[in-house]
Symmetry: C2
Subunit: 292 residues, 2 copies
């Protein structure tokens, strides 16, 4: 942990937990300095927020969490771009304090009775962008960006076993990540591309036709954009707008697959634009230069 962050961290916490926390941070610092330097060099490490407030605010916040009889609350790490639930652990007061200050998702390991910063061994940190408490203040979300796969098995997330798959009749159960709609669609498109690449004779599909015919794909992307626009210009029903937007996203995602671009990369671009000077500002600049 860089010296500046340590100072900031030190000013953040006081009272009963301070000594234990500082021991932990010093230990972490000793063991992880090289790793953090590496992390810093790729600019993925975010030091403790400079504007973090007076100590009493942090203590009040830590005290507002309804820790259970063992001093723990559930902590869920979620990918800030895709929404994927990466892993779930438990946090105690110290783990939450370290996460607030270091912006690295940190948990309390019940089996080893110690704090544990995800990535301290694997380097696969989860860089925390925000932290949320639920309505009862007994459940925590670490909303962050994972560096590499989160699961110790090498899987992207720890959730890859579907109960309905396990209860099904298949002879072999394949890993099947808990994916929401956009990423299920992305996986389906990838599967069609794999079938083409491996010359497998899967059944024919519209996605395969698009993947094999750039001219067709490009005309469809343009056409779907026009159809979306028409729903506004012609004041069509909003269900029509939703349908045309779905068509546009699907066809554009087939194009992304051909360019080997993941939707997560696109979302990262969007996040960086509107969390810095704002996508609005960026687009405005683009427009000005177009017009100049």
């Amino acid at each position: 942990m860089p010296a500046a962050s340590l100072v900031c961290f030190h000013s953040l916490i006081s009272g009963a937990v301070e000594h234990r926390l500082m021991s932990r941070v010093k230990h972490w610092n000793r063991n992880c300095s090289l790793k953090i330097s590496a992390s810093l060099s790729d600019q993925s490490f975010q030091p403790a927020a400079k504007s973090l407030p007076i100590t009493s605010k942090v203590e009040t916040l830590l005290d507002s969490v309804k820790w259970d009889s063992k001093g723990l609350a559930v902590a869920i790490a979620q990918n800030v771009d895709t929404g994927a639930i990466l892993m779930q652990g438990f946090a105690n007061k110290e783990a939450l304090a370290v996460t607030i200050a270091s912006r690295k998702a940190t948990f309390y390991s019940r089996s080893r009775s110690t704090l544990w910063t995800k990535g301290e061994t694997s380097m696969n940190f989860i860089n925390v962008h925000d932290i949320f408490l639920d309505c009862d203040h007994d459940s925590i979300i670490y909303l962050g960006k994972p560096v590499g796969p989160t699961c110790h098995t090498g899987a992207e997330t720890c959730y890859y076993s579907s109960v309905y798959d396990l209860l099904g009749d298949q002879e072999s159960i394949q890993d099947h990540l808990a994916s929401t709609t956009l990423y299920s669609l992305e996986a389906t498109i990838s599967q069609r591309k794999d079938e083409i690449d491996s010359l497998k004779n899967g059944k024919s599909s519209w996605t395969k036709k698009l993947l094999l015919d750039n001219e067709l794909l490009c005309s469809k992307v343009r056409e779907e954009a026009s159809e979306l626009v028409e729903t506004l210009l012609q004041n069509e029903d909003k269900t029509r707008t939703a349908s045309e937007m779905a068509d546009l996203i699907y066809h554009a995602m087939v194009l992304l697959k051909l360019k080997d671009v993941k939707m997560e990369e696109v979302l990262e671009v969007l996040r960086k634009r509107f969390s810095q000077s704002g996508i609005e500002e960026k687009s405005s600049r683009k427009r000005s230069s177009n017009q100049s």
Copy 2:
């Protein structure tokens, strides 16, 4: 619970937990029959999967979960379309069994020492599409579609308190849902629209210009689609593809706002298409009819 589901449910579970489970389900059935009928009428209720397998498979699966010393595991409900974490509770063996069979997210209430199906009082069920176990089999995701807001406060999810907001210097803390990138962008666009509608003199922005000028917006959506297509045709760098796709999504989302369409509605269209006969099949039909 409809009779057919009860039969299916009954065939699913046997052994020690059967009697307690059936009592629970009968109680639930008595109290909730009207609610379930209402739910069925909007076709959001999915009866227990018809193909669910022999009882021993379910028992083996329930036994494979690493229940803690109190017989519980963490259960997280997640929106299948947006990825939003809706709420977090705990499941015991019976809660998981009821969720598998009924496809309504069901938890064990530690405060009331009883099973609790989310929505049994509020009608705001979470219709479960899939259930995932983590690598250690001690954490569960109920991946589902919420009917109405999930939180008892009326908020969309239970996570609306940002730790960094609470630690900040603002005098009044506004609720701030734990949103991932796409939905943060959607919220920003909504905010700009609200500023226009309320005649507030916020600072000028590109989004506001687009919201006030349909012709400009429509030309931008078409232009961004063309620029995305060019990255394929001209074999441009993949970072360019990601950037153009980000531009296209942003401008198309401004159009969605003008039509009062949420990205969640678009994703629901996509999910229904590719989980039924497949978006590929649908698009293929559309193309055939276009060409005929």
